[in-house]
């Protein structure tokens, strides 16, 4: 126990990324990258035993500043999720990435995310937060300037909010470590507290993609290396979730004390939960209306994170556990989904639904993975998505919060809706003739998908594995039961029994099926077309606007767009800057990003 594991865990990806970037030989950079992503995962898994007894801390002193890191249960949970999804994504990237540039920044953002989870004071937290943002920003920048700019601006906005909040906290507390802050936050005045709360909400809301700060996510998720998106959605967005939990740790008790309770939850928590509910609905509805496979999953990711926010917001031990559970399942199925998307985009070169169709026949392995992911995300019982959703349902409804419950119910249905759209457009129906030579997933992607799919099933059938871990994080036994049973007292879920009976049901159905006459395979042109003969020249699949009725039903609401609002705001800021330039500066000006940055810096200085 000579070397502290924390710097290894945090820095291994970054070093690996640099090496890969420097060497930049096809084959070697992939191996380096995968190994450097595997180190944190392996190390974290290795440390599991040790952590049940003690925590590991690490302090680095640099020019008067102290950087504190702590590996404790909660951080370990998040870091393992991030490392796992990051590893799968990096594995996928061996197929999809083209040059060392991507390896560097993908691994850098992994470092950032791990650092965020293990940081134990505000400065290191902020620094790694920015490393993470920078790495991911560079990944987006390479693919699309506009999307990256939007991501950058909003991240900047969030970062400055955080900076101001940290500043205010530091000014009134004089301590930057989490432990010190949570104690000292009791001294804050009510209004300062509210301001800090709001700023944190913005800062973490941006990263978690909470409504109405989600607008960067669809563009950024879709305009980058698709394997990397798995990490983006599976790991990076978890930093936002972690941030929300930090709010509880840092100023939670004071907030609860100052602002009082709303029914059985706290007021400030209810706001988080309500934002989460809106995120579910808005993200889900928008996901159903997308025409681009990447955007659909980007919005879906936003929508699913809304569940986590609800769980965190409700704030009971059970609901926090449910939220953490859903964080895990979100990482598992979302990571899987984005790898599937990566495979599809990699193999077909198409991203829009209208160019796809009938791929199940051509990519059976990927389809099998997609099937697991779909069932998991939709919350079909023996998979992990259901277990976490079920916990969340029970946690929220048992707290007598009907409106939040309504959001969750709506969310589960909208999940079905957009998944069916994905399934229909990509896997089934008539295949355009130019996709006839599509091959199945390349091996690294297949392995990466396989790992995540397997975990989806394992944690689904044995949710007790996760529940035990969650109990130990919170230090009390909230979820009773054993490996297969989740027992909350007022509700029980037995995954194994359910699986057994599902198998029995399917066997019964299968017996009925196999007793019937043999089946004959027919092509897609030999279907009911009101009696008319058709050829493959007719388009027989609804490729565009599959949910047009929904779009029309929501026409009134869809007219309001926060994306456009921000653009308008940005434009007016730009106009303002133009005016300023005309009257004041007359100097050279690069882009309006800088204007906004300056304005925000001024604000930040004022706040300090």
């Amino acid at each position: 126990m000579s070397i502290n594991p924390i710097p290894i865990i945090i820095l291994a990806p970054l070093i690996g990324g640099f090496l890969a970037w420097l060497i930049n030989i096809k084959g070697i950079r992939e191996i380096i990258g995968v190994i450097s992503a595997a180190i944190p995962l392996g190390y974290l898994a290795y440390l599991y035993q040790q952590l049940s007894k003690e925590t590991i801390n690490f302090t680095l002193s640099l020019s008067g500043f102290e950087f504190n890191f702590l590996l404790y249960k909660l951080g370990w949970f998040f870091a393992t999720i991030a490392a796992l999804v990051g590893f799968a994504a990096i594995l996928g990237m061996t197929s999809t990435s083209k040059d060392g540039y991507e390896w560097l920044f993908a691994l850098m953002s992994l470092t950032g995310v791990l650092g965020v989870f293990l940081a134990f004071d505000m400065v290191s937290f902020f620094i790694f937060w920015e490393i993470m943002t920078f790495g991911s920003f560079m990944m987006v920048l390479k693919y699309n300037k506009k999307a990256s700019l939007k991501y950058f601006l909003l991240s900047l906005f969030g970062a400055y909010s955080m900076l101001i909040a940290i500043g205010i906290l530091y000014a009134s507390v004089g301590d930057l470590s989490f432990a010190g802050m949570s104690v000292a936050s009791m001294m804050l005045t009510k209004w300062k507290l509210a301001l800090i709360y709001l700023l944190f909400l913005i800062a973490f809301g941006v990263k978690a993609g909470a409504f109405p700060l989600h607008v960067w996510a669809p563009d950024a998720y879709s305009e980058t290396n698709q394997s990397y998106t798995a990490m983006f959605s599976g790991a990076l967005s978890k930093a936002g979730v972690y941030g929300f939990i930090l709010i509880y740790i840092l100023i939670g008790s004071k907030l609860a004390y100052d602002f009082g309770a709303f029914r059985s939850t706290t007021k400030f928590g209810y706001i988080i939960a309500f934002i989460g509910g809106l995120t579910i609905v808005v993200g889900g509805l928008l996901a159903a209306l997308q025409e681009d496979i990447r955007k659909l999953f980007a919005y879906s990711s936003i929508s699913q994170l809304g569940y986590v926010l609800i769980g965190i917001g409700v704030g009971t031990a059970l609901s926090i556990q449910a939220a953490l559970f859903h964080t895990l399942s979100h990482a598992l199925f979302k990571g899987l989904f984005f790898l599937i998307v990566a495979t599809i985009v990699y193999r077909t070169g198409k991203t829009e639904f209208k160019d796809m169709g009938g791929l199940a026949e051509k990519m059976p392995i990927t389809f099998a993975m997609a099937f697991v992911a779909i069932l998991s995300l939709a919350g079909i019982p023996p998979l992990v998505g259901f277990a976490s959703k079920w916990l969340l349902f029970e946690a929220v409804i048992s707290q007598n919060l009907p409106i939040l419950g309504g959001f969750i119910f709506f969310g589960s249905a909208i999940g079905f809706v957009y998944l069916i759209r994905f399934t229909y457009a990509v896997w089934f129906g008539q295949r355009p003739t130019d996709l006839d030579d599509t091959k199945d997933a390349p091996l690294p992607l297949a392995i990466a998908m396989g790992i995540l799919a397997l975990l989806n099933v394992v944690f689904g059938i044995a949710p007790g594995l996760v529940a035990k871990e969650l109990n130990s994080i919170l230090g009390k036994e909230v979820i009773k039961g054993d490996l297969f049973i989740l027992d909350l007292g007022f509700g029980k879920y037995n995954a194994l029994l359910l699986t057994i009976w599902l198998v029995i049901g399917i066997v019964i159905a299968g017996i009925v099926y196999f007793m019937g006459a043999k089946v004959r395979r027919v092509p897609v042109t030999d279907t009911y077309q009101s009696g008319n003969p058709v050829t493959m020249e007719y388009n027989l699949t609804i490729r565009r606007n599959f949910f047009l009725p929904l779009k029309e039903t929501l026409a009134f609401w869809l007219r309001m767009s926060f994306d456009r609002l921000y653009q308008d705001v940005g434009k007016s800021v730009e106009d303002l800057a133009e005016t300023l330039r005309y009257y004041v500066y007359n100097g050279n000006v690069q882009s309006y990003a800088w204007y906004l940055a300056i304005v925000l810096v001024v604000l930040a200085l004022w706040g300090w």
Partner: protein, 391 residues
């Protein structure tokens, strides 16, 4: 095992050049093997659930009536031409007979005229009931549809007693009708039936015509304005739903209609609901007309012209000339243009079915932008009858 790739490969091997797919829209064949179209086909280009483009594809019922009629004697044609309009076969009979009457210069006896009027009105009532059934089935309120078909059966029974056939009556012939009214009992039965159906109208109102959902389904769907309707040759209830008080029975009176008192229901909206409601009001008017006719009672006299030429029926010749006769059918203005060259067979017969105007261009234009769920409703509200397009 036939996969899509094999299909494509096979097509390529056969030297077929496969055109690329139109990926923004998809094609949907609506009919003929579909519950909403009776042997009529619309090819739809769809976007989501909206129709982008519609092409009517008629001709599944084409038998070449106009050609066949040129090779059949004048009287035999009755048995042929009535098959043009299946829901109310009395209309083609009547128009053809009226045109031939005009060519022959016959004054049809009053009794025959009265019977023809009664038959035409019964046909209108039965046709409207049949249409109500169709509307009910298409909207999903099967109860109304079933009731309507059941009440229509009463009229069918009366037709059977009068003419000997349920559907194809072959009853109205040039110069009068084929046989006289069977008995007074028949008239009483008709009166009872009229009363009965009139009584049941409010059931239809409750279930169908005044139903909240019906209104939601049909309001603002397939809207025509007056100019469009006139330009496109729209007639009958569809035209009256756009605010034109046009009815052949008033404008170009025939048979007993000048002596009858009835109203022309007119609505201004021009949407599917207006078209449906106009038909509903007309059903009431037709029952009222039948009541009046029955109150009047059949005039005495012959039921057929007494003309020596009829003795040599097979070689019966019609003087050269041309005539056009039209009546107000439930679908619209039904007309027959008959040209004779003085022979024992017609030289040219053209039947003008109203659906040829409603079912092709009007339909194609009204369907653009409609939802898939509106397609059957628009089709039904236009009262499209494919056989009179195809002939």
């Amino acid at each position: 095992m036939v996969s899509q790739s094999e299909l494509v490969k096979e097509a390529r091997e056969n030297g077929m050049e496969l055109l690329p797919l139109d990926k923004d829209t998809y094609e949907l064949f609506f009919g003929p093997q579909h519950m909403a179209t009776e042997n009529f086909s619309i090819i739809l280009k769809m976007d989501g659930h909206r129709v982008v483009k519609a092409i009517a594809n008629p001709g599944f019922l084409h038998r070449g009536f106009e050609k066949l009629a040129e090779f059949r004697p004048w009287y035999t044609n009755i048995a042929l031409l009535l098959r043009i309009c299946v829901p109310e076969p009395d209309v083609p009979e009547a128009i053809y007979s009226m045109a031939v009457d005009e060519l022959m210069g016959w004054e049809v006896p009053e009794r025959a005229q009265w019977i023809r009027t009664v038959v035409l009105e019964m046909a209108r009532v039965s046709s409207y009931l049949f249409w109500t059934m169709g509307l009910g089935f298409k909207l999903g309120v099967y109860t109304a549809g079933q009731w309507a078909a059941a009440y229509r059966e009463r009229l069918m029974a009366l037709f059977e007693e009068l003419t000997g056939a349920r559907v194809y009556h072959i009853y109205t012939i040039p110069g009068g009708v084929r046989r006289d009214i069977p008995s007074d009992k028949w008239l009483r039965q008709l009166k009872d039936t009229v009363e009965y159906i009139k009584d049941k109208l409010k059931d239809f109102d409750n279930v169908l015509f005044e139903n909240y959902i019906t209104h939601r389904r049909m309001e603002g769907i397939g809207v025509m304005d007056k100019k469009f309707a006139l330009d496109e040759g729209v007639t009958g209830p569809n035209l009256r739903a756009t605010g034109v008080a046009a009815d052949v029975r008033k404008l170009d009176p025939y048979l007993f209609y000048p002596e009858l008192d009835f109203e022309i229901p007119v609505l201004k909206e021009g949407d599917a609901l207006a078209r449906a409601l106009v038909r509903r009001f007309e059903l009431e008017q037709d029952l009222y007309i039948l009541e009046q006719l029955l109150e009047m009672g059949p005039p005495s006299g012959a039921y057929k012209v007494q003309d020596p030429r009829l003795k040599a029926l097979p070689r019966f010749k019609v003087p050269a000339g041309e005539a056009y006769a039209h009546v107000e059918a439930t679908m619209g203005d039904f007309g027959a243009y008959v040209v004779s060259d003085g022979g024992s067979k017609p030289y040219r017969v053209q039947i003008r079915g109203p659906s040829i105007a409603h079912g092709i261009r009007v339909l194609e234009q009204l369907l653009v932008g409609a939802r898939i769920a509106d397609v059957p409703v628009i089709l039904m509200s236009l009262g499209n009858c494919p056989p009179d397009i195809d002939r």
